[in-house]
Protein backbone atom coordinates (compact mmCIF):
# COMPACT_ATOMS: atom_id res chain seq x y z
CA UNK A 1 0.00 0.00 0.00
CA UNK A 2 1.20 3.49 -0.85
CA UNK A 3 2.09 5.98 1.82
CA UNK A 4 -0.71 8.26 2.83
CA UNK A 5 0.46 11.84 2.25
CA UNK A 6 -0.84 14.41 4.68
CA UNK A 7 0.00 18.06 4.09
CA UNK A 8 0.36 20.26 7.15
CA UNK A 9 -0.16 23.76 5.78
CA UNK A 10 0.74 26.62 8.11
CA UNK A 11 0.24 30.38 8.04
CA UNK A 12 3.86 30.98 7.14
CA UNK A 13 7.01 28.99 7.48
CA UNK A 14 9.56 29.89 10.10
CA UNK A 15 7.22 30.49 13.01
CA UNK A 16 8.30 28.60 16.15
CA UNK A 17 4.78 27.55 17.01
CA UNK A 18 4.27 25.86 13.66
CA UNK A 19 7.71 24.29 13.66
CA UNK A 20 6.71 22.62 16.92
CA UNK A 21 3.39 21.55 15.41
CA UNK A 22 5.29 19.97 12.54
CA UNK A 23 7.24 17.97 15.08
CA UNK A 24 3.98 16.68 16.50
CA UNK A 25 2.81 15.78 13.02
CA UNK A 26 5.96 13.75 12.45
CA UNK A 27 5.37 12.04 15.76
CA UNK A 28 1.87 11.06 14.65
CA UNK A 29 3.19 9.87 11.31
CA UNK A 30 5.73 7.71 13.08
CA UNK A 31 3.02 6.21 15.23
CA UNK A 32 0.70 5.55 12.31
CA UNK A 33 3.33 4.27 9.89
CA UNK A 34 2.88 4.57 6.14
CA UNK A 35 2.21 8.29 6.53
CA UNK A 36 4.28 10.97 4.87
CA UNK A 37 4.02 14.52 6.22
CA UNK A 38 4.39 17.44 3.82
CA UNK A 39 5.08 20.48 5.97
CA UNK A 40 4.55 23.61 3.91
CA UNK A 41 3.26 27.16 3.86
CA UNK A 42 3.67 30.49 2.09
CA UNK A 43 6.32 33.17 2.60
CA UNK A 44 4.02 35.76 4.11
CA UNK A 45 0.87 35.23 6.05
CA UNK A 46 -1.38 35.87 3.06
CA UNK A 47 -4.39 33.98 1.76
CA UNK A 48 -3.16 34.27 -1.83
CA UNK A 49 0.09 32.61 -0.86
CA UNK A 50 -1.74 29.74 0.81
CA UNK A 51 -3.91 29.26 -2.27
CA UNK A 52 -0.79 28.78 -4.38
CA UNK A 53 0.36 26.19 -1.89
CA UNK A 54 -3.02 24.47 -1.95
CA UNK A 55 -2.98 24.40 -5.76
CA UNK A 56 0.34 22.62 -5.78
CA UNK A 57 -0.88 20.16 -3.16
CA UNK A 58 -3.95 19.42 -5.25
CA UNK A 59 -1.68 18.87 -8.22
CA UNK A 60 0.38 16.37 -6.22
CA UNK A 61 -2.79 14.59 -5.27
CA UNK A 62 -2.08 14.48 -1.54
CA UNK A 63 -4.53 12.49 0.55
CA UNK A 64 -5.24 15.11 3.15
CA UNK A 65 -4.67 18.78 3.88
CA UNK A 66 -4.62 20.08 7.41
CA UNK A 67 -4.40 23.83 7.32
CA UNK A 68 -4.03 26.72 9.72
CA UNK A 69 -5.66 29.43 7.65
CA UNK A 70 -4.59 33.01 7.05
CA UNK A 71 -8.14 33.88 6.08
CA UNK A 72 -11.21 31.85 6.98
CA UNK A 73 -13.17 32.83 3.88
CA UNK A 74 -10.74 33.44 1.06
CA UNK A 75 -9.45 29.88 1.16
CA UNK A 76 -12.87 28.31 0.84
CA UNK A 77 -13.06 28.10 -2.97
CA UNK A 78 -9.57 26.62 -3.25
CA UNK A 79 -10.21 24.09 -0.48
CA UNK A 80 -13.57 23.19 -1.96
CA UNK A 81 -11.79 22.32 -5.15
CA UNK A 82 -9.42 20.15 -3.15
CA UNK A 83 -12.35 18.33 -1.60
CA UNK A 84 -13.94 17.93 -5.04
CA UNK A 85 -10.80 16.12 -6.12
CA UNK A 86 -11.17 13.72 -3.22
CA UNK A 87 -8.77 15.29 -0.79
CA UNK A 88 -9.62 15.31 2.90
CA UNK A 89 -9.48 18.86 4.25
CA UNK A 90 -9.45 19.87 7.88
CA UNK A 91 -8.40 23.09 9.51
CA UNK A 92 -6.64 23.46 12.81
CA UNK A 93 -5.44 26.31 14.98
CA UNK A 94 -6.86 29.07 12.81
CA UNK A 95 -10.06 27.91 11.16
CA UNK A 96 -11.61 27.87 7.73
CA UNK A 97 -15.30 28.70 7.26
CA UNK A 98 -17.55 25.69 7.34
CA UNK A 99 -17.93 25.18 3.61
CA UNK A 100 -14.19 24.85 3.09
CA UNK A 101 -13.27 21.98 5.39
CA UNK A 102 -14.60 18.79 6.87
CA UNK A 103 -13.81 19.72 10.43
CA UNK A 104 -11.90 22.28 12.46
CA UNK A 105 -9.72 21.56 15.44
CA UNK A 106 -9.52 24.46 17.84
CA UNK A 107 -6.45 24.34 20.04
CA UNK A 108 -8.76 25.06 22.89
CA UNK A 109 -12.20 26.52 23.20
CA UNK A 110 -12.46 30.21 22.52
CA UNK A 111 -14.25 31.07 25.78
CA UNK A 112 -11.63 29.15 27.69
CA UNK A 113 -8.78 31.05 26.03
CA UNK A 114 -10.55 34.35 26.60
CA UNK A 115 -10.98 33.51 30.24
CA UNK A 116 -7.40 32.28 30.59
CA UNK A 117 -5.74 35.44 29.29
CA UNK A 118 -7.72 37.61 31.69
CA UNK A 119 -7.16 35.22 34.56
CA UNK A 120 -3.39 35.22 33.96
CA UNK A 121 -3.42 38.97 34.49
CA UNK A 122 -5.92 39.01 37.34
CA UNK A 123 -4.05 36.36 39.32
CA UNK A 124 -1.21 38.78 39.90
CA UNK A 125 -3.40 41.80 40.62
CA UNK A 126 -5.03 41.11 43.97
CA UNK A 127 -6.26 44.69 44.23
CA UNK A 128 -7.43 44.94 40.65
CA UNK A 129 -6.26 47.71 38.31
CA UNK A 130 -5.89 48.69 34.69
CA UNK A 131 -4.99 46.16 32.00
CA UNK A 132 -4.55 46.61 28.27
CA UNK A 133 -4.50 44.20 25.36
CA UNK A 134 -1.84 44.30 22.67
CA UNK A 135 -2.96 42.08 19.83
CA UNK A 136 -1.58 41.05 16.45
CA UNK A 137 -3.14 42.76 13.45
CA UNK A 138 -6.58 44.21 13.79
CA UNK A 139 -7.79 41.69 11.26
CA UNK A 140 -6.50 38.57 13.01
CA UNK A 141 -9.67 36.52 13.44
CA UNK A 142 -8.32 34.21 16.12
CA UNK A 143 -7.11 36.98 18.33
CA UNK A 144 -10.28 38.98 17.85
CA UNK A 145 -12.45 36.05 18.93
CA UNK A 146 -10.35 35.54 22.05
CA UNK A 147 -10.45 39.23 22.89
CA UNK A 148 -14.24 39.19 22.51
CA UNK A 149 -14.46 36.20 24.81
CA UNK A 150 -12.15 37.92 27.29
CA UNK A 151 -14.35 41.01 27.34
CA UNK A 152 -17.35 38.84 28.08
CA UNK A 153 -15.86 37.32 31.19
CA UNK A 154 -14.33 40.59 32.37
CA UNK A 155 -17.20 41.44 34.78
CA UNK A 156 -16.32 38.26 36.67
CA UNK A 157 -13.01 39.79 37.71
CA UNK A 158 -13.66 42.52 40.22
CA UNK A 159 -11.60 45.64 39.84
CA UNK A 160 -9.90 44.51 36.63
CA UNK A 161 -10.39 47.30 34.16
CA UNK A 162 -9.61 46.84 30.46
CA UNK A 163 -8.52 50.30 29.31
CA UNK A 164 -7.35 49.76 25.75
CA UNK A 165 -6.89 47.30 22.92
CA UNK A 166 -4.07 48.11 20.52
CA UNK A 167 -2.53 46.31 17.56
CA UNK A 168 1.14 45.64 16.89
CA UNK A 169 0.60 43.91 13.54
CA UNK A 170 2.97 41.15 14.62
CA UNK A 171 5.85 43.52 13.85
CA UNK A 172 8.34 43.81 16.69
CA UNK A 173 8.99 47.52 16.26
CA UNK A 174 5.33 48.43 16.02
CA UNK A 175 4.36 46.19 18.94
CA UNK A 176 7.15 47.69 21.02
CA UNK A 177 5.99 51.19 20.18
CA UNK A 178 2.40 50.33 20.98
CA UNK A 179 3.49 48.93 24.34
CA UNK A 180 5.40 52.13 25.03
CA UNK A 181 2.32 54.08 24.02
CA UNK A 182 0.21 52.09 26.50
CA UNK A 183 2.64 52.80 29.32
CA UNK A 184 2.69 56.49 28.46
CA UNK A 185 -1.08 56.82 28.13
CA UNK A 186 -1.94 54.75 31.19
CA UNK A 187 0.53 55.46 33.97
CA UNK A 188 -1.37 53.14 36.30
CA UNK A 189 -1.30 50.19 33.96
CA UNK A 190 -0.81 46.92 35.83
CA UNK A 191 -0.71 44.39 33.02
CA UNK A 192 -0.33 44.05 29.29
CA UNK A 193 -2.05 41.05 27.78
CA UNK A 194 -0.67 40.00 24.41
CA UNK A 195 -2.33 36.94 22.86
CA UNK A 196 0.38 36.67 20.19
CA UNK A 197 4.05 35.73 20.38
CA UNK A 198 5.58 38.77 18.64
CA UNK A 199 3.43 41.04 20.74
CA UNK A 200 4.19 39.43 24.09
CA UNK A 201 7.93 39.45 23.41
CA UNK A 202 7.95 43.07 22.32
CA UNK A 203 5.87 44.07 25.34
CA UNK A 204 8.29 42.32 27.69
CA UNK A 205 11.16 44.18 26.13
CA UNK A 206 9.35 47.51 26.30
CA UNK A 207 8.46 46.98 29.96
CA UNK A 208 12.01 45.89 30.76
CA UNK A 209 13.47 48.91 28.99
CA UNK A 210 11.09 51.25 30.77
CA UNK A 211 12.32 49.83 34.07
CA UNK A 212 8.81 48.81 35.00
CA UNK A 213 9.44 45.17 35.83
CA UNK A 214 7.36 44.43 38.86
CA UNK A 215 5.01 47.29 38.16
CA UNK A 216 3.61 45.96 34.91
CA UNK A 217 3.10 42.27 34.32
CA UNK A 218 3.24 41.13 30.72
CA UNK A 219 1.18 38.07 30.01
CA UNK A 220 -0.75 36.36 27.29
CA UNK A 221 0.09 33.60 24.87
CA UNK A 222 3.65 32.67 23.97
CA UNK A 223 6.03 29.77 23.53
CA UNK A 224 8.22 28.73 26.47
CA UNK A 225 11.30 28.69 24.24
CA UNK A 226 10.71 32.29 23.26
CA UNK A 227 9.44 33.49 26.65
CA UNK A 228 12.18 32.06 28.84
CA UNK A 229 14.04 35.37 28.94
CA UNK A 230 10.93 37.30 29.99
CA UNK A 231 10.15 34.92 32.79
CA UNK A 232 13.75 34.99 33.97
CA UNK A 233 13.77 38.77 34.09
CA UNK A 234 10.47 38.83 35.91
CA UNK A 235 8.69 40.94 33.28
CA UNK A 236 6.34 38.01 32.81
CA UNK A 237 5.06 36.20 35.85
CA UNK A 238 3.15 33.60 33.92
CA UNK A 239 1.76 32.98 30.47
CA UNK A 240 -0.17 30.27 28.74
CA UNK A 241 -0.15 28.25 25.59
CA UNK A 242 -1.53 24.98 24.44
CA UNK A 243 1.00 22.47 23.37
CA UNK A 244 1.75 23.00 19.68
CA UNK A 245 3.29 19.55 19.44
CA UNK A 246 0.06 18.05 20.62
CA UNK A 247 -1.85 20.25 18.22
CA UNK A 248 0.15 19.11 15.20
CA UNK A 249 -0.10 15.56 16.41
CA UNK A 250 -3.87 15.75 16.84
CA UNK A 251 -4.46 17.45 13.51
CA UNK A 252 -2.50 14.74 11.75
CA UNK A 253 -4.34 11.99 13.57
CA UNK A 254 -7.70 13.54 12.69
CA UNK A 255 -6.77 14.05 9.06
CA UNK A 256 -5.62 10.46 8.87
CA UNK A 257 -8.79 9.16 10.44
CA UNK A 258 -11.07 11.19 8.19
CA UNK A 259 -9.11 10.27 5.09
CA UNK A 260 -9.64 6.69 6.11
CA UNK A 261 -13.37 7.24 6.21
CA UNK A 262 -14.24 8.51 9.68
CA UNK A 263 -17.59 10.31 9.87
CA UNK A 264 -17.48 14.11 10.24
CA UNK A 265 -21.06 15.19 10.92
CA UNK A 266 -22.13 17.11 14.01
CA UNK A 267 -21.74 14.94 17.07
CA UNK A 268 -19.26 12.62 15.39
CA UNK A 269 -16.49 11.38 17.64
CA UNK A 270 -13.07 11.04 16.07
CA UNK A 271 -10.07 9.47 17.77
CA UNK A 272 -6.72 11.18 17.87
CA UNK A 273 -4.19 8.77 19.28
CA UNK A 274 -2.63 9.59 22.60
CA UNK A 275 -4.76 12.74 22.85
CA UNK A 276 -7.94 10.74 23.23
CA UNK A 277 -10.77 11.79 20.95
CA UNK A 278 -12.85 14.83 20.05
CA UNK A 279 -16.54 15.27 19.45
CA UNK A 280 -17.61 17.72 16.74
CA UNK A 281 -20.14 20.41 17.56
CA UNK A 282 -22.75 21.58 15.08
CA UNK A 283 -20.25 23.84 13.29
CA UNK A 284 -18.02 20.84 12.78
CA UNK A 285 -15.40 22.07 15.21
CA UNK A 286 -13.89 20.69 18.32
CA UNK A 287 -11.42 21.83 20.95
CA UNK A 288 -8.25 19.92 21.70
CA UNK A 289 -7.34 20.73 25.26
CA UNK A 290 -7.03 23.47 27.84
CA UNK A 291 -4.21 25.94 27.57
CA UNK A 292 -1.38 25.18 29.95
CA UNK A 293 0.17 27.82 32.15
CA UNK A 294 3.92 28.34 32.42
CA UNK A 295 5.83 30.25 35.05
CA UNK A 296 9.25 30.24 36.66
CA UNK A 297 8.55 26.84 38.19
CA UNK A 298 8.27 24.96 34.92
CA UNK A 299 9.78 27.14 32.21
CA UNK A 300 13.21 25.51 32.41
CA UNK A 301 11.65 22.17 31.72
CA UNK A 302 9.72 23.25 28.63
CA UNK A 303 11.89 25.89 27.04
CA UNK A 304 13.95 23.32 25.19
CA UNK A 305 10.89 21.39 23.98
CA UNK A 306 8.88 24.04 22.11
Amino acid sequence: QDNMRIALVVKALGIGFFEAAAEGAEEAAGELGNVEIIYTGPTDTTAEGQIEVINSLIAQGVDAIAISANDPDALVPALKRAMDRGITVISWDSGVAEGGRQMHLNPSSTPLIGNTIIKLAADHMPDGGEVAILSASATATNQNAWIEAAKEVLPNYDGVDLVATVYGDDLSDKSYREAQGLMASYPNLKAIIAPTTVGILASCQAVTDAGKIGEINVTGLGLPSEMAGCVDSGATKSFAIWNPIDLGYSATMLAHAIANGAETGAGAEIPMGRMGSVTLDDTGSAAMADPFTYDSSNIEQFKSIF
Binding site: L13, T40, G41, I51, E52, V53, N55, A59, A74, T141
Partner: protein
Protein backbone atom coordinates in the same frame (compact mmCIF):
# COMPACT_ATOMS: atom_id res chain seq x y z
CA UNK B 1 21.32 72.60 -52.77
CA UNK B 2 22.26 69.03 -53.46
CA UNK B 3 23.73 67.39 -56.43
CA UNK B 4 22.36 63.90 -56.06
CA UNK B 5 19.61 62.43 -53.96
CA UNK B 6 20.70 59.11 -52.58
CA UNK B 7 18.15 56.65 -51.43
CA UNK B 8 18.50 55.68 -47.80
CA UNK B 9 17.60 52.05 -47.14
CA UNK B 10 14.72 51.46 -44.73
CA UNK B 11 16.44 48.92 -42.57
CA UNK B 12 19.81 47.28 -42.31
CA UNK B 13 18.71 44.27 -40.31
CA UNK B 14 15.51 42.46 -41.06
CA UNK B 15 12.85 42.46 -38.35
CA UNK B 16 13.17 38.68 -38.14
CA UNK B 17 16.85 38.88 -37.36
CA UNK B 18 16.16 41.55 -34.78
CA UNK B 19 13.58 39.36 -33.08
CA UNK B 20 15.79 36.31 -33.01
CA UNK B 21 18.49 38.18 -31.16
CA UNK B 22 16.08 39.78 -28.76
CA UNK B 23 15.48 39.55 -25.07
CA UNK B 24 12.26 37.70 -25.73
CA UNK B 25 14.11 34.83 -27.38
CA UNK B 26 16.47 34.54 -24.42
CA UNK B 27 13.53 34.51 -22.06
CA UNK B 28 11.69 32.00 -24.20
CA UNK B 29 14.68 29.67 -23.89
CA UNK B 30 14.59 30.12 -20.12
CA UNK B 31 10.87 29.34 -20.11
CA UNK B 32 11.30 26.22 -22.21
CA UNK B 33 14.20 25.14 -20.02
CA UNK B 34 12.11 25.52 -16.89
CA UNK B 35 9.22 23.65 -18.48
CA UNK B 36 11.43 20.72 -19.38
CA UNK B 37 13.14 20.74 -16.00
CA UNK B 38 9.77 20.75 -14.27
CA UNK B 39 8.43 17.84 -16.24
CA UNK B 40 11.44 15.78 -15.21
CA UNK B 41 11.43 16.96 -11.62
CA UNK B 42 7.84 16.19 -10.79
CA UNK B 43 5.53 13.46 -12.10
CA UNK B 44 2.54 15.69 -11.45
CA UNK B 45 3.65 18.52 -13.69
CA UNK B 46 2.49 17.31 -17.10
CA UNK B 47 -1.20 17.18 -16.36
CA UNK B 48 -3.73 19.43 -18.02
CA UNK B 49 -5.69 20.20 -14.87
CA UNK B 50 -2.59 20.87 -12.85
CA UNK B 51 -1.18 23.20 -15.48
CA UNK B 52 -4.54 24.91 -15.61
CA UNK B 53 -4.47 25.39 -11.83
CA UNK B 54 -0.96 26.74 -12.14
CA UNK B 55 -2.10 29.55 -14.41
CA UNK B 56 -4.07 31.05 -11.54
CA UNK B 57 -0.73 31.82 -9.90
CA UNK B 58 -0.03 34.55 -12.42
CA UNK B 59 -3.05 35.49 -14.53
CA UNK B 60 -4.34 38.28 -12.30
CA UNK B 61 -0.88 39.72 -11.73
CA UNK B 62 -0.10 39.52 -15.43
CA UNK B 63 -3.23 41.47 -16.36
CA UNK B 64 -1.93 44.36 -14.32
CA UNK B 65 1.61 43.74 -15.54
CA UNK B 66 0.58 44.50 -19.13
CA UNK B 67 -0.73 47.93 -18.22
CA UNK B 68 2.22 48.43 -15.89
CA UNK B 69 4.57 47.58 -18.76
CA UNK B 70 3.18 50.48 -20.78
CA UNK B 71 3.42 52.74 -17.78
CA UNK B 72 7.03 51.76 -17.11
CA UNK B 73 7.95 52.13 -20.78
CA UNK B 74 6.57 55.66 -20.59
CA UNK B 75 8.94 56.33 -17.70
CA UNK B 76 6.46 56.15 -14.83
CA UNK B 77 5.53 53.45 -12.32
CA UNK B 78 2.51 52.60 -10.20
CA UNK B 79 3.20 50.92 -6.89
CA UNK B 80 -0.37 51.32 -5.71
CA UNK B 81 -1.85 48.58 -7.92
CA UNK B 82 -2.26 46.04 -5.13
CA UNK B 83 -3.85 48.68 -2.93
CA UNK B 84 -6.26 49.51 -5.76
CA UNK B 85 -7.27 45.85 -5.81
CA UNK B 86 -7.99 46.09 -2.09
CA UNK B 87 -10.06 49.24 -2.48
CA UNK B 88 -11.97 47.97 -5.52
CA UNK B 89 -12.65 44.69 -3.80
CA UNK B 90 -13.85 46.51 -0.68
CA UNK B 91 -16.18 48.62 -2.79
CA UNK B 92 -17.60 45.50 -4.41
CA UNK B 93 -18.05 43.92 -1.00
CA UNK B 94 -19.89 46.96 0.26
CA UNK B 95 -22.07 46.88 -2.84
CA UNK B 96 -22.96 43.26 -2.17
CA UNK B 97 -24.25 44.30 1.25
CA UNK B 98 -26.37 46.91 -0.52
CA UNK B 99 -27.83 44.19 -2.72
CA UNK B 100 -26.10 45.00 -5.99
CA UNK B 101 -26.12 42.21 -8.57
CA UNK B 102 -23.22 40.64 -10.44
CA UNK B 103 -23.14 43.10 -13.36
CA UNK B 104 -23.25 46.00 -10.95
CA UNK B 105 -20.40 44.51 -8.93
CA UNK B 106 -18.17 44.19 -11.95
CA UNK B 107 -18.94 47.75 -12.97
CA UNK B 108 -18.19 49.02 -9.49
CA UNK B 109 -14.90 47.14 -9.36
CA UNK B 110 -13.79 48.57 -12.69
CA UNK B 111 -15.03 52.05 -11.82
CA UNK B 112 -13.12 52.14 -8.53
CA UNK B 113 -10.02 50.95 -10.37
CA UNK B 114 -10.43 53.74 -12.90
CA UNK B 115 -11.03 56.30 -10.19
CA UNK B 116 -7.87 55.29 -8.32
CA UNK B 117 -5.95 55.42 -11.60
CA UNK B 118 -7.33 58.90 -12.13
CA UNK B 119 -6.11 59.99 -8.70
CA UNK B 120 -2.62 58.73 -9.45
CA UNK B 121 -2.76 60.21 -12.93
CA UNK B 122 -3.81 63.58 -11.61
CA UNK B 123 -1.11 63.68 -8.95
CA UNK B 124 1.57 62.70 -11.45
CA UNK B 125 0.55 64.57 -14.59
CA UNK B 126 -1.59 67.32 -13.12
CA UNK B 127 0.74 68.27 -10.29
CA UNK B 128 3.93 67.04 -11.90
CA UNK B 129 5.00 64.79 -9.02
CA UNK B 130 7.33 61.81 -9.36
CA UNK B 131 5.19 58.71 -9.73
CA UNK B 132 7.30 56.42 -7.58
CA UNK B 133 6.73 58.47 -4.45
CA UNK B 134 3.18 59.46 -5.29
CA UNK B 135 2.19 55.84 -5.61
CA UNK B 136 4.03 54.83 -2.46
CA UNK B 137 1.73 57.37 -0.84
CA UNK B 138 -1.48 56.28 -2.57
CA UNK B 139 -0.53 52.68 -1.86
CA UNK B 140 -0.99 53.39 1.85
CA UNK B 141 -3.92 55.67 1.22
CA UNK B 142 -6.00 53.29 -0.90
CA UNK B 143 -5.41 50.28 1.28
CA UNK B 144 -5.83 52.52 4.32
CA UNK B 145 -9.31 53.44 3.10
CA UNK B 146 -10.25 49.77 2.84
CA UNK B 147 -9.04 49.32 6.39
CA UNK B 148 -11.18 52.24 7.51
CA UNK B 149 -14.21 50.84 5.73
CA UNK B 150 -13.75 47.21 6.58
CA UNK B 151 -11.67 47.14 9.74
CA UNK B 152 -11.46 43.58 10.94
CA UNK B 153 -14.61 42.61 9.11
CA UNK B 154 -14.98 40.55 5.99
CA UNK B 155 -17.30 40.94 3.03
CA UNK B 156 -18.55 37.70 1.64
CA UNK B 157 -21.81 36.26 0.35
CA UNK B 158 -21.05 37.33 -3.17
CA UNK B 159 -23.75 36.20 -5.62
CA UNK B 160 -23.26 32.64 -6.87
CA UNK B 161 -22.76 33.64 -10.50
CA UNK B 162 -20.07 36.11 -9.46
CA UNK B 163 -17.84 33.12 -8.80
CA UNK B 164 -17.49 32.57 -12.55
CA UNK B 165 -14.86 35.29 -13.02
CA UNK B 166 -12.31 33.70 -10.77
CA UNK B 167 -13.40 30.09 -10.68
CA UNK B 168 -15.23 29.44 -13.92
CA UNK B 169 -14.04 27.45 -16.92
CA UNK B 170 -14.78 28.40 -20.48
CA UNK B 171 -13.93 25.10 -22.05
CA UNK B 172 -12.43 21.96 -20.52
CA UNK B 173 -9.39 23.09 -18.51
CA UNK B 174 -9.37 26.57 -19.99
CA UNK B 175 -10.41 28.92 -17.21
CA UNK B 176 -12.20 32.20 -17.72
CA UNK B 177 -9.25 34.01 -16.13
CA UNK B 178 -6.83 32.45 -18.56
CA UNK B 179 -8.95 33.46 -21.53
CA UNK B 180 -9.23 36.96 -20.14
CA UNK B 181 -5.46 37.04 -19.63
CA UNK B 182 -4.90 36.01 -23.25
CA UNK B 183 -7.35 38.55 -24.60
CA UNK B 184 -5.85 41.34 -22.54
CA UNK B 185 -2.35 40.33 -23.65
CA UNK B 186 -3.38 40.60 -27.29
CA UNK B 187 -5.11 43.92 -26.73
CA UNK B 188 -2.09 45.41 -25.04
CA UNK B 189 0.31 43.99 -27.60
CA UNK B 190 -1.75 45.63 -30.32
CA UNK B 191 -1.98 48.93 -28.46
CA UNK B 192 1.71 49.07 -27.73
CA UNK B 193 3.16 47.75 -30.95
CA UNK B 194 0.75 48.77 -33.65
CA UNK B 195 -0.92 52.04 -32.75
CA UNK B 196 -0.16 55.73 -32.56
CA UNK B 197 -0.75 55.58 -28.86
CA UNK B 198 1.90 52.90 -28.42
CA UNK B 199 4.37 54.89 -30.46
CA UNK B 200 3.70 57.90 -28.26
CA UNK B 201 4.37 55.75 -25.19
CA UNK B 202 7.81 54.81 -26.48
CA UNK B 203 8.57 58.38 -27.50
CA UNK B 204 7.62 59.71 -24.08
CA UNK B 205 9.65 57.07 -22.31
CA UNK B 206 12.73 57.91 -24.31
CA UNK B 207 12.49 61.66 -24.06
CA UNK B 208 9.37 63.22 -22.61
CA UNK B 209 10.47 66.76 -23.43
CA UNK B 210 11.26 65.79 -27.00
CA UNK B 211 7.89 64.11 -27.29
CA UNK B 212 6.14 67.20 -25.95
CA UNK B 213 8.04 69.37 -28.44
CA UNK B 214 6.93 66.97 -31.18
CA UNK B 215 3.30 67.69 -30.49
CA UNK B 216 2.54 64.60 -28.40
CA UNK B 217 0.07 65.24 -25.61
CA UNK B 218 2.40 63.85 -22.99
CA UNK B 219 0.20 64.60 -20.01
CA UNK B 220 -2.83 63.07 -21.61
CA UNK B 221 -0.99 59.92 -22.65
CA UNK B 222 0.45 59.42 -19.18
CA UNK B 223 -2.89 60.08 -17.57
CA UNK B 224 -4.46 57.49 -19.85
CA UNK B 225 -1.77 55.01 -18.85
CA UNK B 226 -2.54 55.53 -15.17
CA UNK B 227 -6.22 55.09 -15.97
CA UNK B 228 -5.45 51.85 -17.81
CA UNK B 229 -3.34 50.57 -14.95
CA UNK B 230 -6.13 51.42 -12.53
CA UNK B 231 -8.66 49.73 -14.79
CA UNK B 232 -6.55 46.59 -15.01
CA UNK B 233 -6.24 46.59 -11.23
CA UNK B 234 -10.02 46.78 -11.17
CA UNK B 235 -10.25 43.80 -13.53
CA UNK B 236 -7.80 41.89 -11.37
CA UNK B 237 -9.83 42.87 -8.32
CA UNK B 238 -12.95 41.35 -9.88
CA UNK B 239 -11.14 38.11 -10.70
CA UNK B 240 -9.34 37.82 -7.38
CA UNK B 241 -12.40 38.69 -5.32
CA UNK B 242 -14.38 36.14 -7.25
CA UNK B 243 -11.65 33.55 -6.81
CA UNK B 244 -11.42 34.16 -3.05
CA UNK B 245 -15.16 34.64 -2.67
CA UNK B 246 -14.50 37.23 0.01
CA UNK B 247 -12.82 40.54 0.72
CA UNK B 248 -10.49 41.62 3.47
CA UNK B 249 -8.39 44.78 3.44
CA UNK B 250 -5.22 42.71 3.27
CA UNK B 251 -6.19 41.21 -0.08
CA UNK B 252 -3.38 41.08 -2.68
CA UNK B 253 -0.87 42.36 -0.15
CA UNK B 254 2.62 42.82 -1.60
CA UNK B 255 1.62 42.16 -5.20
CA UNK B 256 3.04 45.41 -6.51
CA UNK B 257 6.61 44.22 -6.28
CA UNK B 258 5.81 40.89 -7.91
CA UNK B 259 4.12 42.70 -10.76
CA UNK B 260 7.06 45.04 -11.22
CA UNK B 261 9.36 42.03 -11.12
CA UNK B 262 7.30 40.37 -13.83
CA UNK B 263 7.47 43.46 -16.02
CA UNK B 264 11.21 43.87 -15.58
CA UNK B 265 11.86 40.20 -16.13
CA UNK B 266 9.89 40.63 -19.33
CA UNK B 267 12.62 42.90 -20.63
CA UNK B 268 10.97 46.22 -20.00
CA UNK B 269 13.59 48.82 -19.16
CA UNK B 270 12.74 50.06 -15.68
CA UNK B 271 14.09 53.45 -16.73
CA UNK B 272 11.58 53.64 -19.55
CA UNK B 273 11.81 53.67 -23.30
CA UNK B 274 11.90 50.03 -24.25
CA UNK B 275 10.14 46.74 -23.70
CA UNK B 276 7.50 44.56 -25.28
CA UNK B 277 4.29 42.77 -24.38
CA UNK B 278 5.41 39.35 -25.65
CA UNK B 279 8.31 39.68 -23.23
CA UNK B 280 5.95 40.25 -20.33
CA UNK B 281 3.77 37.32 -21.39
CA UNK B 282 6.77 35.01 -21.35
CA UNK B 283 7.93 36.45 -18.03
CA UNK B 284 4.49 35.72 -16.58
CA UNK B 285 4.80 32.11 -17.66
CA UNK B 286 8.37 31.89 -16.35
CA UNK B 287 7.34 33.14 -12.93
CA UNK B 288 4.26 30.94 -12.90
CA UNK B 289 6.23 27.87 -13.95
CA UNK B 290 8.99 28.48 -11.43
CA UNK B 291 6.65 28.92 -8.48
CA UNK B 292 4.41 26.06 -9.52
CA UNK B 293 7.31 23.73 -10.28
CA UNK B 294 9.01 24.44 -7.00
CA UNK B 295 5.66 24.20 -5.26
CA UNK B 296 5.24 20.66 -6.57
CA UNK B 297 8.56 19.86 -4.96
CA UNK B 298 7.27 21.47 -1.76
CA UNK B 299 10.09 23.96 -1.71
CA UNK B 300 9.34 26.66 0.87
CA UNK B 301 7.90 29.83 -0.58
CA UNK B 302 10.79 31.93 0.61
CA UNK B 303 13.18 29.80 -1.39
CA UNK B 304 11.00 30.41 -4.43
CA UNK B 305 11.33 34.12 -3.91
CA UNK B 306 15.10 33.74 -3.71
CA UNK B 307 14.95 31.92 -7.03
CA UNK B 308 12.82 34.66 -8.57
CA UNK B 309 15.10 37.36 -7.17
CA UNK B 310 18.19 35.61 -8.45
CA UNK B 311 16.53 34.95 -11.80
CA UNK B 312 15.71 38.63 -12.11
CA UNK B 313 19.29 39.69 -11.51
CA UNK B 314 20.98 36.95 -13.53
CA UNK B 315 18.71 37.20 -16.54
CA UNK B 316 19.46 40.91 -16.70
CA UNK B 317 23.13 40.48 -15.87
CA UNK B 318 23.79 37.66 -18.33
CA UNK B 319 23.68 39.64 -21.58
CA UNK B 320 25.90 42.30 -20.00
CA UNK B 321 28.39 39.77 -18.69
CA UNK B 322 28.38 38.12 -22.08
CA UNK B 323 29.20 41.33 -23.89
CA UNK B 324 31.86 42.16 -21.29
CA UNK B 325 33.57 38.86 -21.91
CA UNK B 326 33.47 39.28 -25.62
CA UNK B 327 34.74 42.83 -25.70
Amino acid sequence: MTTTTRSIPDRLRSPLERNLKSWESLLMLVAIGIFIANSFASPYFLNAWNLSDATFNFTEKAMIAFAMALLIISGEIDLSVAAIIALASTAMGAAVQAGVGTEGLVLIGLAVGLACGAVNGFLVTGLGLPSIVVTIGTMSLFRGISFIVLGDQVYKSYPADFAFFGQGYVWWVISFEFVLFAIIAVIYAVILHMTNFGRAVYAIGNNATGALFSGIRVGRVKFTLFLLTGLMSGVAAVCLTSRLGSTRPSIAFGWELEIVTMVVLGGVNILGGSGSIPGVVIAAFVMGLVTFGLGLLNVPGIVMSIVIGALLITVIALPRLWSMWRG
